[in-house]
């Protein structure tokens, strides 16, 4: 009986002593309120913002692939309807892949906004470290908004974390002009705060300057783009990788050409090879037109096995497998190469185009011949301004094929209608229908 008493007493004690059952903490995640509260959290939040670029809706897969599909570089060979519609330039406002891209970019913008809002409030944070973190955050916000404006035109400018789902701040669209103004403002902030000159898997001073060159080129400010591109060259820290294929090493090995590229690993993988390779999903493939561009003797209507380019970029970027052409720029089985957001080769081409636009055709020719020489092609001679610009645009196509640059190039140059035979309205992607449905006052692009 005494035993029983103790047993009962022990049970009662045990039960009353154990924690309140309703007091359970989340596992595997932490409450928002405790996330960015010290320097460790601030750093982790910044890496989280870089991690956002890895999304399969973003640089990990859809963003570069869809942009080449929309252009004359790639064609659809798989099953995804949303990819097929992009290939045919018959986008619908409910295209899920475009919605995914929109969501992934704003997800990353929110990560950045959290950093910009909260990191300066972190107690006892070293000011230099704080500036480096928010500087890189400003760079990422500029990159994200530029990627949006390239596809959609002016977009909602959300610059602070949303306080509620109906937070009206930055919920409706800014003009294209205002969007570019904000991007350049963020680049100014980034340039003021970032001190690290060398890193290539995070934003450096060179990355800020290179992105500025690209943004100004897209905006049509050619003298500005020229100055910015030249400034990158003048840093003297970048040069072309000797071998084109070195840029796409399976393990992300660095090259002197790297300015800013994204880490991918076996766990944090990209799907570029999986989507392009014949042994993978083979969702997309190079167009015969692009093959003809690489190999002028190739007849687009002939057997693809006759493709035999002298251009080293054409040799690396396109292969023939089982009588089918496949994009082989990215070849890792596990998706582990580090795709470039911006590299020195592009800066040279920006410089070349900007020089050509302002009439410095000789400098333009020198710059474009640097690119051609690496590809194993003969230098070009003197050309008229128009021919020079066309040549540079064509070099951009071949240099940056499957990296998501062809479609924005065609759009900014007004070539989408002539090259692809589409209407001017189709040159802007639709704002995702799901977004229109849930955001009062958000307007759709014309034609959707």
């Amino acid at each position: 009986m005494r035993t029983r008493f103790f047993l009962a007493a022990a049970l009662i004690t045990a039960a009353t002593a154990c924690n309140n059952p309703l007091d359970v903490k989340p596992a595997g995640s932490i409450p928002e309120s405790s996330a960015i509260t010290d320097v460790v959290g601030a750093r982790a939040a910044l890496f989280g913002a870089y991690g956002g670029l890895q999304s399969l809706s973003y640089y990990g897969q859809d963003f570069p692939i869809l942009l080449d599909l929309s252009s004359d570089n790639s064609e659809h060979t798989g099953t995804l309807t949303s990819f097929g519609d992009a290939d045919l330039n018959q986008l619908r406002a409910d295209n899920e892949t475009i919605a995914g891209i929109w969501i992934a970019i704003y997800d990353d913008i929110n990560r950045v906004n959290e950093i910009i809002a909260k990191v300066p409030q972190v107690p006892n944070i070293d000011p230099d470290e704080m500036h480096e973190i928010i500087g890189e955050a400003y760079f990422l916000r500029a990159l994200n908004y530029h990627n949006l404006v390239k596809l959609f035109g002016g977009v909602p400018l959300r610059l602070t974390p949303a306080t509620s789902i109906n937070d009206p701040n930055g919920s409706t669209r800014a003009t294209v002009q205002d969007t570019y103004t904000q991007i350049l403002k963020d680049l100014d902030s980034a340039q003021a705060f970032i001190s690290n000159p060398n890193q290539t898997t995070q934003a450096s001073l060179g990355a800020v300057m290179a992105l500025r060159a690209r943004v100004l080129l897209y905006e049509g400010d050619y003298p500005g783009a020229l100055t910015a591109a030249k400034a990158v060259e003048d840093l003297g820290q970048y040069s072309l990788a000797p071998k084109f294929s070195d840029l796409f090493a399976e393990d992300g090995s660095p090259t002197p050409e790297d300015i800013f590229r994204i880490i991918f690993t076996a766990q944090q993988f990209n799907n570029l090879s999986y989507y392009y390779l014949y042994d993978g999903r083979y969702e997309v493939a190079p167009t015969p037109d692009l093959m003809h561009d690489f190999d002028p003797s190739f007849d687009p209507s002939a057997d693809v096995a006759t493709y035999n380019p002298t251009d080293k970029r054409g040799q690396w970027s396109i292969s023939i497998e089982s009588d089918n052409q496949e994009g082989t720029k990215f070849r890792s089985v596990q998706g582990t190469e580090y795709p470039h957001v911006i590299r020195f080769g592009e800066v040279l081409l920006i410089r070349a185009e900007a020089e050509a636009r302002v009439g410095s055709l000789d400098t333009a020719r020198v710059k474009v011949n640097e690119i051609r020489a690496r590809a194993g092609l003969a230098p070009i001679g003197a050309l008229s301004q128009t021919d020079m610009i066309n040549t540079i645009i064509d070099e951009r196509r071949k240099e940056l094929a499957f990296e998501g640059d062809r479609w924005p190039d065609l759009v900014r140059l007004g070539l989408a209608t002539s090259v692809l035979g589409i209407s001017a309205q189709q040159a802007l992607y639709p704002i995702p229908q799901r977004e229109i449905d849930v955001t009062p006052g958000l307007t759709q692009n014309p034609g959707y």
Partner: protein
């Protein structure tokens, strides 16, 4: 503050129970014994399993000789004996201390379920006094079935309970819906309660294809079960509050009774084979069809007739086999006046009809009842089971064994002449399904311990305190090997893929409650129950996936070169509750019941942590009213019932109410990022249900009619609703939307013919049918959303339609001039786009049910069970590839041979088209088929061997039987089986789709059962 008191209430009550029981031991000497025999008043045969109640308290059941024995406190007590199928009998006796008194009963048999004792949650109730909608399934209905799970055996057995076999894989999950689906995001599976303790459900699998979820009955051996009760209406289920909106399935296992040790033995063995084969093209038909498609589009022939079709492989027959299934069970029970036990062990083993698949389960149970004192008794129910399920990698998916056997063209061989599997060297379009089955493996081991200990102390005969601790510990260990030798798979590129997943789910429940029962001599009674409960859930998972192996000889993660993904996480969610119920009966004519439960869940934030779930129900035995005259004698007893109650659903993700940060690493740099947008106002889904019904027992109780109408409105649906992505999130959890289920259920049980002689001819029929109307009545902005192929919803949720309504193009026919498919241009813009999709039918049946007949004569018994479902549509997703006009290289259904070939031809099959220009490949209602069926689910012939023929006299009730299951399915469906749900029981929206589902087997078996 309230939560402090409630948290501890259960624990304190439990402790008190054990403590108070202590001093009572002193009085143990002052006992008397009551024992006796219960017999059938007509045949004089012993009645086994009769419940004996003394002084209002259950005191066990009679053994195989019909005897019972129980210790009681001296004095005058009432002894009651009752058994399903008999009128209960009661006697008042006086017994002195130390005496043994014999109290025998001769029970009058009745064919009605009126006297049936039903377990209703925190108590029991006679069918006669039940005021809610409650169904029972007899243990005999779920035993000796060649299916692994009890839930599969429930199919067609209870009105209002819809059971869908997701697929035929051994050990595969089962979808159970009580009165229709009500949730689009939270679980729709019912709550399972085993021996009084709620147990875990959910999908614990990390590697698995869909449809492998764990339920309350996973690992439970059907031969352990005494009874199954389903609480269907909200009023009955509301005592389980926030988990009860999908109904409650209460399972009670067998317990022992006093007497000598009694053994039972059952064994059966059988074989399974495919119930049907699909009609697919042979090589000649395939080559001709594909070439025709190319010619129709002006393309050159993809195949060379006479060369490519020289050999033909029947891939279905290459992967299917005749496979054995068997079950053996040994049980023993018995006990003394104070200790009664029931022990059992069983083994169930099954090879799948598809190569590479098998399932086995070993289980054991020990149920012990101990009357420590006349006032204090302890019950334990302990069960352990181990399942080993060899799944085939990729079942229910697009790259599995069944999938590829249907998809692979018949022109390729299984093996090369050297005996190696044919692969890339033979240009197989898909990975060789026989190679997948042979070289890959996916074994899953599930261990489960279910145990509870319960103590009951009677302060006075009418007032007792029960304390209970229940434990449900589940471990699932999964391994997978994808061999590099299977050409055409990712593993071949990655040089082998190995995965290892380990999940545990532990649930601890502590409950304490007081029960007060008052019975008047005039059959008026009052029953009160009240108490508290605390439930802790602790889950954990680990996962590793490795690639890059030196050879196929290594199968485990250790030998890989690269870890491509990993996981490891413990999670907790808890529940704290208080509950109370009152049942009042006035002369068994007016019945009233009211209950209230309040639950606090860690799944909700402080604003809505507590939910309150009230219910009320009443019954009126109108046939006993004086104004009804002698209605009772002429037409039988008639009871009217009505109930109204509220239940909840909280079975969805933890911490959805809270703003959260998770991991977003960048290379080797640890990173964090927001993962959830806060919604502090998130709360339970609530179901309000009205139920009205009648219980009628005409023809002297030979017929039982139980009918119900219900109206069930679920509101505040928890939906991951879209929000502006500019917030950084594209959706968040919110309470939006309503779903209505209303319907009618009818259950009939009839003793059509009965002889007074126990060996005479008898014929019994049970029939049930259920009609349910499911409709979504409100959604966020009333915008439809869905699940489907290529992001374009095929199955969707839309206002005014049932959940899972198919939404596709409408096929109008084939143009006799061009052979092209014609689709309805809904918006009239001259183009067929996804804007032209229409509502194309519901995956939910208009009605379903079952019909059982049993004929007995002397020792022979013949039973048949038919199961039917009418009005559901099935999306035959196989046809996207197997009836696409030749756009894909998949093998085709032979009905594609009816394809249009010349102008003027009238046919329903569009012309073959290599480039897809005929429109045959469009996803349309052409692929949505009539899913109605009538299944000969079971025919059993059994013979009870007369005892004088038995070589061993001590053997009793020895029965030999032969049985056939899933013998034939009458259906127009062109796949294997329209009773299918490839997306699994955790899928709420995509229902009734057949994604190359593993077909159900036809099974023949023979068995023997005996006892001694």
């Amino acid at each position: 503050m309230r939560r402090f008191t409630l948290t501890r209430a259960a624990a304190v009550l439990l402790g008190l129970t054990l403590y108070i029981a202590g001093p009572a031991v002193a009085g143990a000497q002052q006992t008397a014994t009551i024992r006796g025999t219960v017999t059938d008043s007509v045949s004089g045969q012993a009645v086994t399993g009769a419940q004996i109640t003394i002084a209002g308290q259950p005191r066990g059941v009679t053994n195989d000789r019909g005897t019972y024995s129980s210790n009681v406190a001296p004095g005058t007590v009432t002894v009651r004996a009752q058994r399903i199928g008999f009128s209960p009998a009661e006697r008042q006796v006086t017994v002195a201390a130390g005496d043994t008194l014999r109290v025998d009963f001769a029970l009058h048999s009745v064919a009605v379920t009126l006297a049936q004792v039903m377990v209703i949650g925190y108590g029991t109730e006679n069918r006669a006094r039940v005021t809610g909608a409650v169904s029972t399934v007899n243990s005999s209905d779920v035993q000796n079935q060649p299916v692994a799970g009890v839930d599969a055996a429930l199919q067609g057995k209870a009105p209002g309970v819809q059971v869908t076999q997701n697929a035929g894989d051994p050990g595969n999950g089962i979808t159970v819906r009580v009165r229709g689906a009500a949730s689009v995001s939270a679980s729709n599976q019912p709550l399972y309660v085993v021996d009084g303790v709620p147990v875990q459900s959910g999908d614990f699998s990390q590697l698995g294809p869909n449809g492998q979820g764990v339920t309350g009955v996973t690992g439970l051996d059907p031969s352990e079960i005494e009874s199954i009760t389903v609480l269907k209406d909200a009023a009955s289920a509301a005592i389980y509050g926030s988990r009860a909106s999908n109904g409650v399935v209460i399972i009670t296992t067998k317990r022992g009774s006093a007497g000598t040790t009694h053994f039972t033995f059952d064994a059966n063995t059988g074989w399974q084979q495919p119930e049907r084969y699909l009609s697919l093209m042979n090589a000649k038909q395939y080559v001709a069809f594909m070439n025709q498609g190319a010619e129709n589009d002006g393309e050159s022939d993809p195949f060379t007739a006479g060369v490519d079709d020289a050999h033909s492989t029947d891939w279905q027959r290459a992967i299917f086999r005749t496979a054995p299934v068997g079950n053996v069970h040994l049980g023993l029970s018995g006990g003394t006046d104070r200790i009664r036990y029931s022990l059992g062990g069983s083994y169930f083993g099954q090879n799948g009809i598809v190569l590479g698949s098998s399932y086995s389960r070993a289980s054991g149970r020990a149920n012990i009842d101990f009357d420590a004192t006349p006032n204090f008794s302890v019950k334990t129910s302990l069960a352990y089971s181990k399942e080993l399920d060899h799944r085939i990698p990729g079942d229910n998916s697009l790259t599995g064994v069944v999938t590829n056997a249907i998809g692979e063209a018949s022109i390729y061989p299984v093996r090369a002449p050297d005996g190696q599997f044919a692969g890339n060297d033979y240009n197989l379009y898909y990975a060789n399904p026989v190679a997948i089955a042979d070289l890959n493996n996916l074994p899953t081991t599930t261990d489960r311990f279910l145990g509870n200990v319960e103590g009951t102390y009677h302060f006075i005969p009418s007032l007792s305190l029960t304390g209970r601790v229940g434990v449900d510990m589940l471990t699932m260990n999964e391994l997978e090997w994808d061999s590099p030798l299977v050409d055409g798979t990712y593993a071949a590129q990655a040089r082998g893929v190995a995965k290892s997943g380990y999940s545990t789910g532990n649930q601890y429940v502590m409950e304490g409650f007081l029960t007060y029962t008052h019975e008047n001599a005039d059959a008026s009674s009052l029953n009160l129950v009240g108490g508290g409960s605390v439930q802790y859930n602790t889950n954990q998972l680990n996962f590793v996936r490795a690639e890059g192996f030196s050879s196929d000889q290594f199968h485990y993660v250790r030998n890989g070169t690269v870890i491509t993904s990993f996981d490891g996480l413990p999670t907790n969610h808890n529940l704290e509750s208080a509950f109370a119920r009152a049942n009042y009966s006035w002369k068994d004519r007016y019945l009233l019941s009211a209950s209230l439960r309040t639950d606090a869940s860690t799944r909700f934030g402080p604003n809505h942590q507590w939910g309150v779930f009230p219910a009320i129900s009443g019954g009126w035995v109108i046939s006993e009213e004086p104004f009804m005259g002698n209605f009772d004698q002429k037409f039988g007893k008639l009871k009217l019932r009505a109930s109204y109650g509220a239940t909840g659903n909280q079975d969805f993700a933890d911490f959805s109410y809270l703003g959260l940060y998770g991991t977003s690493n960048y290379g080797e740099n640890p990173g964090i990022a927001p993962t959830n947008f806060a919604n502090p106002n998130l709360k339970w889904e609530t179901t309000h249900e009205f139920d009205g019904g009648i219980d009628w027992y005409p023809f002297g109780g030979r017929l039982t009619v139980i009918a119900d109408y219900y109206h069930r409105l679920t509101s505040d649906l928890i939906v991951d609703r879209p929000i502006p992505a500019t917030t950084g999130f594209f959706e968040y959890w919110d309470n939006i939307g309503n779903v209505l289920n209303r319907g009618f259920e009818l259950g009939l049980s009839s003793a059509n013919f009965r002889s007074d002689d126990k060996d005479g001819f008898s014929w019994n029929t049970d029939f049930n049918i259920s009609f349910n109307h499911n409709e979504v009545t409100a959604l966020f902005q009333n915008q439809p959303f869905g699940d489907g192929e290529n992001f374009r919803p095929i199955s969707r949720v839309a206002v005014g339609q049932p959940i899972g309504e198919f939404y596709v193009l409408h096929f109008k026919g084939v143009d006799p001039q061009t052979g092209d498919a014609i689709y309805k241009d809904v918006n009239g813009d001259g183009e067929i786009t996804s804007d032209d999709r229409v509502d194309a039918g519901s995956p939910q049946p208009k009605f379903f049910g079952g019909l059982r007949n049993t004929w007995s004569w002397k020792g022979f018994s013949l039973g048949s069970f038919l199961e039917f479902s009418y009005g559901a549509k099935v999306f035959n997703l196989m046809r996207i590839f197997a009836d696409d006009g030749g756009y894909n290289y998949d093998n085709k259904f032979t009905y594609a041979l009816n394809a249009w070939t010349h102008p003027g031809q009238i046919t329903n099959e569009p012309r073959a088209s290599f480039d897809g220009t005929s429109g045959a490949r469009e996803i349309s209602d052409r692929f949505i088929e009539n899913g109605s069926y009538l299944r000969i689910s079971e025919i059993t012939l059994s013979w009870r061997i007369p005892e004088n023929l038995m070589p061993v006299r001590s053997l009793q009730n020895t029965t030999l039987y032969v049985t056939g299951h899933n013998l034939h399915n009458f259906t127009k469906y062109t796949g294997y089986d329209p009773d299918v749900n490839s997306n699994g029981e955790t899928s709420n929206i995509a229902l009734g789709t057949d994604y190359y589902a593993y077909p159900r087997a036809r099974t023949f078996s023979i068995g023997l059962s005996t006892n001694w």
